[in-house]
Symmetry: C2
Subunit: 77 residues, 2 copies
């Protein structure tokens, strides 16, 4: 399976948004839960940043999901 470079951040963007909405959270709430800035959450959801693994882990922690499930598009929550 060829995973294009851009696909990584697009998958992350899509999943963060999907998981956030599944919790009924605004970007503000995810920002608060993760300790990241709200505008940064918005930028991540627009694939604008090459997000580091430390931040990915913070987001997974805030969403209470494993890294595996964060990247598992078959899991809606």
């Amino acid at each position: 399976m060829a995973l294009k470079e851009r696909e990584g951040r697009d998958t992350l963007a899509r999943r963060i948004r999907e998981l956030r909405l599944a919790r009924g959270w605004a970007q503000d709430r995810l920002a608060e839960e993760s300790g990241l800035h709200r505008t940064y959450i918005g930028a991540i959801e627009r694939s604008e940043h090459n997000v580091g693994i430390d931040t990915i882990a913070k987001l997974a922690n805030a969403l209470k999901i494993s890294l595996k499930d964060l990247f598992d598009e078959s899991k809606s929550k």
Copy 2:
């Protein structure tokens, strides 16, 4: 499940090394396949870098594995 920040890069480090060795590849080979520098592969495997999603995708691509499976510790290959 609480995922500590450091756990993200430690999981990544462990998985990259494990998947590389499962293919019988030296770090040189993974460097060649991914277009990254060999010393950078070594640093990733020692959890020394906050690796960005673009690079994680490059590594997954080189290892021919999905992002989900890259972070799935139940999959040895």
